[in-house]
């Protein structure tokens, strides 16, 4: 125990003594860890944010398709889809973009009618307000209803950005460059920052007017299934999707597909940075190896001397392991801390734009950062292990030769 403490103390001394090597390794490894962790935290944050945004999403989204592109879908599909066994509720949605001053917002018209008419019979399909409300929990004011003409409920991020409150009248520029005025009746604060940051809600008829959508069309149909269980939902949604897909000119997106598409997008973008990070990491390993083998004559001499003074090969390795753990750990910690500061405090400049997509203009959207234990541990592992590898092997090679040879070789 005392010996291990002595060797640890000696390792600290080595880290202080070989200043150039320490500095080079700390800087290069720190940069590598910082770049990796900042990308990973942001990527994890985006994936988590994406998952949250889909938490209350419909099990299936049905869109119209024309010449291979998304188009408005006819409302006559509502009744046929609603009658497919397993479907609990079909909701219509009209959405698009609008401008409030210089701020681009997502305008969503939600279906607040809880019934459909099929074959002249009115069928109750569920409580639509209750079904949709959890996605947009109100912080103040009230939610929309079917009669809420010229009324909107806005996300908390939008309210903060515009300085709006319940009772404020907002002028929203339509895609046709027409200004319409809406009374803010409520402010919601969703679990998903994406929703709260740039979304305003209005009832379906208001949205139809806003986007000039014909009476028999909507942007998409949201289909909710009866199943409560996630695994059953996936299999049921696939069965129902097949049935719906027989309907002409429409396509079906399952929640699972949307989630996977999001994960794929962000992981591919972070993958690009990972390649850069691997290059840096290889450079670090080469630097460490070079420092120990080529530049490390001093170190070689030291190994010979320590062995002459009674240190065994395992003692030498132990010293180098401590050194590597200290350097790698310190560089990892500095890198992770830098990553956190870069993402959370500085808002990940450039990186955020790349990860979100250059074309996306999110107003005041807080950078989604998720610091998982897994990512932290992985960052430490990849900063410490290459250094251990690059340091221990040359040290072991030096330590296995006779001390006299090691000292003479270093001096030559």
């Amino acid at each position: 125990m005392k010996r291990s403490k002595n060797l640890l103390k000696y390792s600290v001394n080595c880290v202080q003594r070989y200043k150039l090597r320490t500095l080079v390794i700390l800087i290069t490894l720190g940069i590598a860890a910082a770049s990796f962790s900042s990308v990973a935290f942001l990527s994890d944050g985006l994936v988590k944010e994406g998952a949250l945004s889909l938490k209350y999403a419909p099990d299936l989204t049905v869109q119209g398709i024309s010449s291979g592109r998304q188009s408005l879908i006819s409302t006559r599909y509502v009744s046929s889809i609603a009658l497919v066994p397993g479907v609990r509720w079909v909701s219509q949605r009209i959405w698009g973009y609008g401008n409030i001053g210089d701020t681009l917002v997502v305008v969503v018209g939600i279906d607040l009618d809880n019934s459909i008419t099929t074959n002249q019979t009115k069928v109750l399909l569920g409580n639509s307000v209750v079904d949709q409300a959890p996605a947009f929990p109100l912080e103040s004011g009230q939610f929309l209803d079917v009669q809420s003409r010229n009324s909107i409920v806005i996300g908390k991020g939008v309210a903060e950005l515009l300085g709006a409150d319940v009772g404020t009248v907002l002028s929203v520029l339509t895609e046709s460059n027409v200004i319409r005025q809406y009374n803010v009746i409520g402010i919601f604060n969703s679990e998903s920052s994406i929703y709260s940051a740039d979304m305003i809600l209005m009832n379906l008829e208001s949205a139809r007017e806003f986007f000039s959508v014909p009476e028999d069309k909507v942007t998409d149909l949201m289909v909710y299934l009866d199943s409560e269980d996630d695994s059953t939902t996936v299999s049921l949604s696939n069965v129902i999707a097949r049935q719906i897909s027989e309907t002409p000119n429409c396509r079906i997106l399952t929640k699972d597909v949307l989630l996977r598409a999001q994960e794929k997008t962000y992981s591919e973008r972070s993958g690009f940075f990972s390649i850069v990070w691997y290059v840096i990491l290889i450079a670090v390993a080469i630097v460490a190896f070079n420092q120990t083998v080529v530049v490390g004559h001093e170190s070689k001499f030291e190994v010979g001397l320590l062995k002459a003074l009674g240190f065994s090969t395992s003692d030498i390795i132990q010293v180098r392991v401590y050194e590597s753990l200290m350097l790698g750990g310190l560089a990892g910690a500095v890198g992770i801390l830098s990553g956190v500061v870069f993402d959370s405090i500085l808002g990940a400049p450039i990186l955020r734009d790349y990860m979100l997509g250059w074309a996306n203009l999110y107003p005041g959207f807080p950078t989604p950062v998720f610091i998982s234990l897994q990512t932290v541990l992985f960052t430490f592992a990849v900063t410490v292990l290459p250094l251990l590898f690059a340091t221990i092997i040359p040290s072991w090679l030096n330590a296995t030769v006779d001390p006299d040879i090691a000292m003479r070789g270093a001096r030559a």
Binding site: N6, A308, L309, G310, D402, P403
Partner: protein, 223 residues
């Protein structure tokens, strides 16, 4: 007692520039005595000392210390033997830079299961005996060559080994330091330690209870 039997070292064996540094050396060093090795530069003194001190593996032959054949020891066992029994003083001094004199003296204790702090007084006492009481906290770079070699002597003794192997200990030291070191070797011999010294210096050679003359890797005389 230290004995060597046909101790031989060949560098670059089988290669173009093969060098037979020591050939069939048979020497005996009595316990509690000073044994001197003299000879011209490059005659194989350092190689012989290194083999006796288990710093260099012989090509053939044996090293026996108190009848124990160390040649067959593993690398780890040799390290343990050195740790417990041998203190080295090197020709090139070999102190660790950026450490002060006291830290250098305490370095061999780091691989022992002891608290070096408890040996501080002993280390300071050794430095005082070598005339360095006011230099204990000086960095190596702040010490003269003679002072550095005296620190190295103190380092060799801090673990209280029974054997001291000193290779050309006076090469880079001034006369005053040489006298201090010479007197010190005499003192530790009187304490019962076995001292092996290789040297050119006549004042050191005079200390020897036994002297071996080396030339071209061979022991050519002893007295």
């Amino acid at each position: 007692m230290i004995e060597t039997v046909n101790l031989t070292k060949i560098y670059n064996r089988g290669k173009k520039h093969q060098v037979e540094a020591v050939t069939d050396a048979n020497i005996t060093a009595e316990s509690g005595a000073i044994t001197i090795f003299v000879g011209p530069s490059g005659c194989g003194k350092t190689t012989l000392m290194s083999m006796i001190g288990q710093l260099l593996t012989p090509t053939r032959g044996e090293v026996l210390i108190d009848k124990e054949n160390l040649t067959s020891y593993s690398d780890g066992s040799k390290a343990v033997f050195r740790r417990k029994n041998i203190g080295f003083v090197f020709q090139h001094i070999n102190l660790l830079p950026n450490l002060n004199a006291l830290e250098n003296v305490l370095t061999p204790l780091l691989c022992h299961d002891v608290d070096p702090e408890k040996y501080k007084d002993n280390a300071v006492s050794l430095l005082s005996q070598l005339g360095l009481s006011d230099r204990a906290y000086f960095k190596v770079e702040q010490l003269s060559g003679g002072q550095q070699q005296r620190v190295a002597v103190a380092r060799a003794l801090v673990t209280e080994p029974k054997i001291i192997v000193a290779d050309e200990p006076l090469t880079f030291v001034d006369d005053a330091s040489a006298k201090t070191i010479t007197d010190f070797f005499e003192q530790i011999k009187d304490e019962g330690k076995t001292v092996l010294i290789s040297t050119h210096a006549t004042n050191l050679a005079k200390l020897g209870d036994k002297t071996y003359v080396i030339n071209c890797g061979n022991v050519v005389d002893s007295y």
